[in-house]
Symmetry: C2
Subunit: 332 residues, 2 copies
């Protein structure tokens, strides 16, 4: 092979908003594999909000990416060399091989997938980590019952879009919060939510109230900040909050929350979770999500950036809500 590997490294740590200059694109030789390893050519790179946390050098649930290392990330691609008994050339695989064209794996966290009925890229979205995040956060933490009202923020995103559709399947009223009329139209017209509140429209409390005439029983929170604080004021007695993300404050100072008292007054159960710590639930979730996608019952969209060199810009866009549906980078 005369081709080289392209890799996107973490060049510096952001202070506040991520800049393109925090990344550095390099070309390196394609790695040699040893016995028990496979070489994968990545076709798709997943961009996800959690990556922002890994750019910081602070104690969190996961170690930060070291300066000069390849940025971590979920990938979907094809085995191009194999010295591992379980993988052969041509196998389609999903893994955590990072922001690069080629990755080496010993099979750990590498999953063979069937792209005959489900497109390969969907394994990074609805039938992958974001979809499972939606499934576990809704089913195991929120535990919605038929007739209840489920609200999800970042409703047009990779996680939120699945939350609302699963809520509808459970017989709930699904209400999305999203930024702008285009996203809200998508959420209601294409995904089938009952209502969507455009938080940019300037009538947040009034619009939330109208969209949730019976209050909120389950809140699936991806955003945080003023939206979260406002939604807290609309929670019902014995309601549940899945705290999945706080993207509004990943690049800024935290918003000063004033409605925590609602947790007490309304006897709310609020819980944070990390999807990778609940691996025992993945098979059930993936089965349901895969069937939903294969049969067209669960819909999704993708926003695709072309080429690794455009990954930083796309990632910054994701953090600002520029994407609609799953944000991907096409690497081939």
């Amino acid at each position: 092979m005369t081709e080289t590997n392209k890799q996107m490294l973490l060049a510096s740590r952001p202070t506040g908003w991520v800049q393109e200059s925090n990344f550095k694109l390099v070309e390196t030789p394609i790695p040699e594999i040893a016995d028990g390893q496979v070489l994968v050519r990545n076709h798709w790179l997943s961009l996800d909000p959690y990556m922002r946390g890994r750019m910081n050098d602070t104690k969190s649930y996961a170690a930060p990416v070291n300066l000069g290392d390849v940025m971590i990330g979920g990938t979907a691609g094809e085995v191009v060399q194999s010295k591992h008994p379980n993988y052969k050339v041509g196998d389609k695989v999903v893994g955590m091989l990072g922001w690069q064209h080629y990755g080496v794996s010993d099979g750990t966290q590498l999953m063979k997938v069937d792209d005959s009925r489900i497109p390969l890229s969907a394994y990074l979205g609805t039938v992958g980590m974001p979809g499972v995040t939606a499934w576990i956060g809704l089913m195991d933490i929120c535990q919605p019952k038929s007739g209840e009202t489920v609200v999800v923020t970042a409703a047009s995103g990779a996680v939120g879009s699945v939350v609302g559709q699963l809520a509808k399947m459970k017989g709930c009223r699904a209400v999305g919060i999203a930024g702008g009329p285009e996203k809200c139209r998508y959420v209601v017209d294409e995904l089938g939510f009952d209502a969507c509140v455009d938080y940019k429209a300037g009538n947040l409390w009034k619009d939330i109230k109208e969209a949730t005439p019976k209050g909120i029983d389950c809140l699936f929170e991806n955003v945080g900040g003023e939206i979260f604080d406002t939604l807290l004021g609309r929670m019902n007695a014995f309601s549940r909050i899945t705290l999945c993300g706080l993207i509004a404050q990943y690049n800024t100072e935290p918003y000063p929350m004033k409605n925590i008292g609602s947790v007490l007054v309304n006897r709310i159960r609020m819980e944070g979770f990390i999807v990778s710590e609940r691996m025992e639930r993945w098979p059930t979730a993936l089965k349901e999500l895969g069937q939903g996608v294969a049969t067209g019952k669960i819909k999704y969209r993708e926003t695709v950036a072309e080429g690794l060199e455009n990954a930083p810009k796309a990632f910054i866009g994701l953090l600002k809500g520029a994407n609609l549906g799953k944000q991907l980078v096409k690497l081939i």
Copy 2:
């Protein structure tokens, strides 16, 4: 009887801090009882933070006290007349008969108690609603395991003092937060907590860190505000928060919380609860608490105001943290 009933009415609703002028003391005839009723002479009135909420005319989990009505409250006293088959004159009873000398009951929410081994007043504190609040909030929501660190705010109060002692019985490290050196000495020297942080000492974060070298696994939160926000920064992965009270903001604007992100990063489960909604747990809790008090294993103190006329001042003191242990009013 030539004696009259003395009653403390809600005269006006407070804006901000409660004033003595929000109450009005009146004398009324001692009520006549009908068949199936008992007349109780209250010996003790319990003062509790939740009463502040009932003075507001806002939607909450319980209806507000109407203007001109007797203030609600837990009481312990003696049956002085009975037309009810289950009660006889001389029975000691605990109930919700309000801020007054005499109350009438049909037996609903009226419990006969034995004051031979446990003082009558304790049934309003450690062997009553505050003790059960501590027990349920710790055992059912926090669910501490031996070796874990349990932190409780308002540690010298009626609820907090029980939380710490129960935590010690479970083999936990018990750390209290209290206001001033006297309360902290009481919490450590008399109640047997491992440590106490004086939040008035001016080194909140540093002192909390020192008192919790292994972080916090269970937080039993009674206070809210800056203390709660600071403690959030010290929570461990998979820790639990029992949200029991937010007394710091009952009379003021809510404190702007900045550390809610800790719930996500540390996968915290936080839950609000109301003790009266978990009646199925009271018998178990009361049995353990009663044995603890009768055998001297659970210690407590009381701050006693003399006479119904001093109840408003004592209540305002309670809201400002002037009491040590259970705040009572002696009515006889």
